[in-house]
C-alpha cells in the first residue's frame, strides 16, 4: 500500500516532535545532551519528510546527488561562521 510509508513517517515525525517538546518542558536531561537530541530528532524528521512526503524514494539519483551537494555546500559556511565568532576586533565583548 503506497500510503503506508507516508502514514508511518507522519506518525514518527509527530512522535519525535512530542519527544522534543516534552524533553525541553520536563528539563530532566543534561542541557547539552538535550540540545543534541532535539537537533538529531529534527534531522530525523526532515529525512522522513524528504523520503516519504516529498517522494524522494521515487525520484532519480540525480535528485539525491543535488540534495547532498546542497547540504555539503553549507558546511563550509557554517564552520566559517562558527570560527568567526571569536572575533574581538569587530564584536564588542559587552554592551
Amino acid at each position: 500500500m503506497a500510503e503506508l510509508g507516508p502514514v508511518i513517517a507522519f506518525a514518527v515525525v509527530v512522535a519525535l516532535a512530542l519527544f522534543q517538546a516534552s524533553a525541553v518542558i520536563l528539563g530532566v536531561l543534561d542541557p547539552q545532551l538535550m540540545t543534541g537530541l532535539v537537533l538529531a530528532a529534527s534531522f530525523a524528521q526532515a529525512s522522513l519528510v524528504y523520503v516519504f512526503m516529498m517522494h524522494a524514494r521515487y525520484a532519480s539519483k540525480g535528485v539525491l546527488l543535488l540534495t547532498i551537494t546542497a547540504l555539503l555546500l553549507l558546511i563550509p559556511l557554517f564552520l566559517a561562521l562558527l570560527y568567526s565568532v571569536e572575533l574581538p576586533i569587530h564584536v564588542p565583548r559587552s554592551r
Binding site: 517522494h55 563550509p76 561562521l81 570560527y83
Partner: protein
C-alpha cells in the same frame, strides 16, 4: 533581425509578438539587447568616474555622485550585464545545441527575462528617487548600507531590484537545468555537448545555489532597511555576518561570470583550429571541480577582516587550489591548437585575446590568494586590475568572441571581417591601457573619489585614456553589428565549417521557429548527426503561436510595485492589480490547457530518467532554496554564539515563544504534509474524490497554521517585541516570515489545484501540478521542523 519565433504571428503587430513571445530564440535576443543596453549605461558611469580620477584633486564628480556611479557601475556590470549576456546566448543556442525545440518551460523563460528587465527598470529608477540611489559600493558595505547611514529610499529600491533580479535568475536556472538534463536529443550524452552548453550547465549548477545564497543576506538587508530588524547593526550579527554571506555568494559569482565566455572560447578555438577539443572529458571534470571549489574560497575576500588565523590559512590553500582546474582548461585549449589548421577569424582573435587576458587575470589572482600579499594589495587598484582582467578579459571578451561567432546564425547576416579585426586591435589596446596600469597603482586605495598624491596622476591619466579607447572599441562593435544587420551579406548555414562540431550549424540561418526542419536530431556513438524524420511537424507546432501575455504583465506589475512602493503608493496598487491579474490569467490558461509545450518524448535524460520535467523543476527549485534558508540558519547560529561573547541573553525556551503553540503548529503542518502526500497518491490512481478531499484538508490545515502564526505575531507585537527589539526577535520574525510566505504561496495555489482536480484535470493518473505541490509542501515542512527547535525549544 529575423527570428523564426514570429513566423506564426508576424502579421500586423510585431510589437505584441515581441512582448508576448516565449520562443527561446526571441527571449535570447531580448536578453542580448537589454544586457548590451545596460552595459552602455554602466560603461558611461565608468567613464565619468575615470574622468574624475584622471588627475589629482579633480572636481568633476563629488564624493556622493562618485559613490553612486561606482555602486551602480559595479552592480550593473556584475549582475545586469555579464550574467545576462551569457544568458542571452545560452537562451538562443543551448536548446539548439542539445537538440531541443525550445526550453522545458517557455513561459517561465519569458518570465525570467521580463523580471530581469523589471529589476533593471527599478534599479535605474532609483537614480531619480529623493536622495539618489545606493552609494554604499557594489559590495554593499555594512553597516554603511543600513538606514542609519544611508537613509535614501533609492538604496532600498536598489535592494528590492536585486531581489527581483535574483528571482528572475533562479527561475531561469531551474528552467535551464531541466532543459539540459531532460530535453537532449537521442544520443546527445552530456559529453557530446559543445563546450558552451557544458559550461552553461556548470554555470547553472553554480547559479542554482549562488543566487538564492545572495538572496539570504539581501532579505536581511531589506528587512533591516524597511522593517527595522538589526541583523547588520547589532553586535551579535553585524558587518561580519554580511561579509560572510555576501562573499559566500560573491566568489561563486566570479565563475558564473567567467565560465560562459571561457567555454565559448573553447568552442571557437576548436572550430577555428579544425580540431576536436583536447581532453574534453578532463575539461568537463575540471569545470565540475572548479564549480564545487568555488564554494570554498570566499573568505579570501576577508583576509583583512580579522577572521581566525586558521580560517585564513585554510582559504589561502583552497584559493590556490582553484587555479588547478582552470590551468587544466587553459592547457587543454592551447593543446587543441597544436597541429590544427588555424583560421584567424574575428571570433578566433577575440577567443585567443580573451584566453591571454584571462591567464594574466588568473596569474594575478594567485598573488591575491596569499594572505601575506593580500593584506598589502587588498583595497588597492591592483585588485581592480586583477578582477577586470578576469571578468572583462576572460568573461566579457570571451562573450564578444561568442557574439561574433554566433552572429551569422542568429541574424542570417555576415559581418565585416576587416572591421572585426580592427575592432579586436582597438579592444585589446584599450583594455590593456585601461587595466594593466592599475597593477602599478598597488599603493593607491580604491573606492576613493579623489587623491592628492601627484605621483599617481600620470598613471591614472593613462588609465582614463585607456577607458575612452575601450569605450571606442565598444562603439565600433555596435557599429559593426548594425552595419551587418543593415548591409551584411547573407550568411550561409555553416559559415565556420562547424557542422560536424555542433547542431546549430546544421540548420538554416536564422533557425526556424522549432529549430530543426529536417526532423529530430540524433547522434551516433561516434558523434555523427542524423535526423529522425517524423510525419511532418506535430499538430501543435502549426497551431501553437508561442505567445503568452502573462510573463510580460507580471513584469509590468513588479516594475510598478518596485517603483511605486518607494515613490508612489497608487502605482503600487496598480502594480499589484496587474500582478494578480497576470497570475490568474496564467492559471486560467493552464486550466483550459491553452498553452502547449512542444517536447519530444525521445531523448537523453540521464541522470534524471525517473523524474518528469515538472517534478525535476520543483526539485531543482527547492534544492536551490536550501541555499536561501541554510545561510540564514547559519547566521542565526553565528548570532547566537556571538551572544555568548557580547553578554546578550538569548530568550530561554518558552520565555517568548510558547512551546505548546509551536508544537501545535508542528503537528498541523506535518498533518498537512501527509494530506498533500495522500492527494498526490490519490491523483496517481485517478481517484478524483480523494484527491479533492486531501487537497482541501491540506488547504484547511495550511490556513490553520497561518492563523496560529498570525496570532503569535500579534501577541508578540502586543508585548512590545518587534522586528528590531533585538537580534533574537529579528531572526525569529524573518525566518518565520520567510517560512509563512512560502506557506502562503502554497495556500494560494491550492484552490487552483482543487478546482482543476474537481473538474477532472488530473483524472488520467498524471498530476504534475499536485506532484510539484507535494514536493514543495514537504520542503516547507522541513524548514519548519528546524524553525520549531531553533526558536521554541533551544
Amino acid at each position: 533581425m529575423s527570428h523564426g519565433g514570429n513566423e506564426h504571428v508576424g502579421g500586423p503587430n510585431p510589437l505584441i509578438s515581441w512582448l508576448f513571445t516565449t520562443n527561446h530564440k526571441n527571449v535570447g535576443v531580448l536578453y542580448l539587447v537589454t544586457s548590451l543596453y545596460f552595459l552602455v549605461v554602466a560603461g558611461v558611469l565608468a567613464l565619468t568616474f575615470r574622468l574624475q580620477l584622471s588627475e589629482p584633486n579633480n572636481v568633476i564628480l563629488g564624493p556622493d555622485a562618485y559613490n553612486r556611479a561606482m555602486t551602480l557601475h559595479g552592480l550593473f556590470m556584475l549582475l545586469w550585464v555579464t550574467t545576462p549576456l551569457g544568458a542571452a546566448l545560452a537562451n538562443y543556442f543551448v536548446p539548439i545545441q542539445i537538440g531541443a525545440k525550445d526550453m522545458a518551460f517557455p513561459r517561465l523563460n519569458a518570465l525570467s527575462y521580463w523580471l530581469y528587465l523589471s529589476s533593471g527598470i527599478v534599479a535605474l529608477s532609483s537614480f531619480f528617487a529623493p536622495g539618489g540611489t545606493a552609494d554604499w559600493g557594489w559590495y554593499t558595505y555594512q553597516p554603511l548600507a543600513s538606514l542609519r547611514y544611508s537613509p535614501q529610499i533609492g538604496g532600498s529600491m536598489m535592494a528590492f531590484a536585486l531581489l527581483l533580479l535574483l528571482a528572475s535568475t533562479t527561475v531561469g536556472t531551474v528552467n535551464f537545468i531541466v532543459t539540459i538534463f531532460r530535453l537532449r536529443a537521442p544520443g546527445m550524452k552530456i559529453l557530446n555537448l559543445p563546450l558552451f552548453s557544458l559550461g552553461w550547465l556548470a554555470t547553472n549548477l553554480i547559479l542554482l545555489w549562488a543566487f538564492p545564497a545572495f538572496m539570504a543576506p539581501l532579505i536581511l538587508l531589506v528587512t533591516d532597511r524597511l522593517l527595522g530588524t538589526v541583523f547588520y547593526t547589532s553586535a551579535e550579527g553585524g558587518p561580519l555576518l554580511w561579509a560572510h554571506l555576501f562573499w559566500f555568494f560573491g566568489h561563486p559569482e566570479v565563475y558564473i561570470l567567467l565560465i560562459p565566455g571561457l567555454m565559448a572560447v573553447g568552442d571557437i578555438i576548436a572550430v577555428s583550429g579544425r580540431r576536436a577539443v583536447y581532453a574534453k572529458p578532463a575539461v568537463w571534470v575540471a569545470l565540475l571541480v572548479a564549480s564545487f571549489q568555488s564554494w570554498v574560497v570566499w573568505a579570501h575576500h576577508m583576509f583583512q577582516s580579522g577572521i581566525h588565523t586558521g580560517l585564513r590559512e585554510a582559504f589561502n590553500i583552497t584559493t590556490e587550489l582553484i587555479s588547478i582546474p582552470f590551468a587544466v582548461i587553459v592547457i587543454a585549449f592551447l593543446l587543441t591548437l597544436v597541429g590544427g589548421r588555424i583560421r584567424i577569424t574575428t571570433p578566433m582573435l577575440f577567443a585567443l585575446g580573451s584566453l591571454a587576458l584571462f591567464i594574466i587575470g588568473g596569474a594575478s589572482g594567485v598573488f591575491n590568494s596569499s594572505v601575506a600579499l593580500n593584506i598589502g594589495l587588498h583595497g588597492t587598484f591592483w585588485v581592480v586590475g586583477h578582477f577586470h582582467y578576469t571578468i572583462v578579459g576572460g568573461g566579457i571578451t570571451g562573450l564578444v568572441a561568442a557574439i561574433y561567432y554566433f552572429w551569422p546564425k542568429m541574424t542570417g547576416r555576415l559581418f565585416s571581417e576587416t572591421l572585426g579585426k580592427i575592432h579586436f586591435v582597438v579592444h585589446m589596446v584599450g583594455f590593456n591601457l585601461l587595466y594593466f596600469p592599475m597593477h602599478m597603482l598597488f599603493d593607491m586605495p580604491r573606492r576613493v573619489y579623489t587623491y592628492v598624491v601627484e605621483a599617481w596622476g600620470p598613471v591614472n591619466m593613462v588609465i582614463t585614456i585607456g577607458a575612452f579607447t575601450f569605450a571606442a572599441a565598444w562603439a565600433l562593435f555596435f557599429a559593426i553589428l548594425f552595419h551587418s544587420l543593415a548591409r551584411g551579406s547573407k550568411a550561409p548555414d555553416d559559415p565556420w565549417d562547424a557542422a560536424p562540431y555542433s547542431l546549430e550549424w546544421n540548420i538554416p540561418s536564422p533557425p526556424p521557429e522549432f529549430n530543426f526542419p529536417h526532423g529530430i536530431p540524433s547522434l551516433s556513438p561516434t558523434g555523427k548527426i542524423s535526423w529522425i524524420t517524423t510525419n511532418g511537424a506535430s499538430p501543435s507546432e502549426h497551431s501553437h503561436p508561442h505567445l503568452s501575455p502573462w510573463p510580460f504583465i507580471v513584469s509590468v506589475g513588479t516594475s510598478l510595485i518596485g517603483v511605486g512602493l518607494f515613490m508612489s503608493p497608487p502605482m503600487t496598487v496598480l502594480g499589484l492589480a496587474a500582478f494578480v491579474a497576470a497570475i490568474v490569467g496564467w492559471a486560467y490558461d493552464d486550466l483550459k490547457d491553452r498553452f502547449k509545450v512542444v517536447i519530444e518524448a525521445i531523448g537523453e535524460k540521464w541522470p534524471f530518467e525517473r523524474d518528469n520535467n515538472f517534478s525535476l523543476g520543483m526539485w531543482t527549485l527547492v534544492i536551490g532554496e536550501v541555499a536561501l534558508v541554510g545561510p540564514i540558519f547559519s547566521g542565526y547560529v553565528f548570532a547566537r554564539a556571538n551572544s555568548l561573547l557580547t553578554g546578550f541573553r538569548w530568550p530561554a525556551p518558552g520565555e517568548v515563544h510558547p512551546i505548546e503553540l509551536g508544537l501545535l503548529n508542528t503537528i498541523i503542518l506535518t498533518t498537512s504534509g501527509l494530506t498533500a502526500t495522500l492527494a498526490y497518491l490519490a491523483s496517481k490512481k485517478g481517484e478524483r474524490g480523494r484527491t479533492v478531499l486531501s487537497l482541501t484538508a491540506t488547504l484547511a490545515l495550511g490556513l490553520a497554521f497561518l492563523g496560529i502564526k498570525a496570532f503569535e505575531w500579534w501577541e508578540l507585537h502586543a508585548h512590545g517585541i518587534t522586528f528590531g527589539t533585538d537580534i533574537a526577535s529579528s531572526f525569529y520574525y524573518v525566518l518565520t516570515g520567510i517560512h509563512a510566505s512560502h506557506l502562503l504561496a502554497g495556500v494560494l495555489v491550492l484552490p487552483y489545484l482543487i478546482l482543476k482536480a474537481h473538474k477532472g484535470g488530473y483524472d488520467g493518473g498524471k498530476a504534475p501540478g499536485i506532484e510539484m505541490f507535494a514536493i514543495y509542501w514537504g520542503f516547507v515542512d522541513i524548514v519548519w521542523l528546524f524553525i520549531f527547535p531553533s526558536f521554541y525549544l533551544l
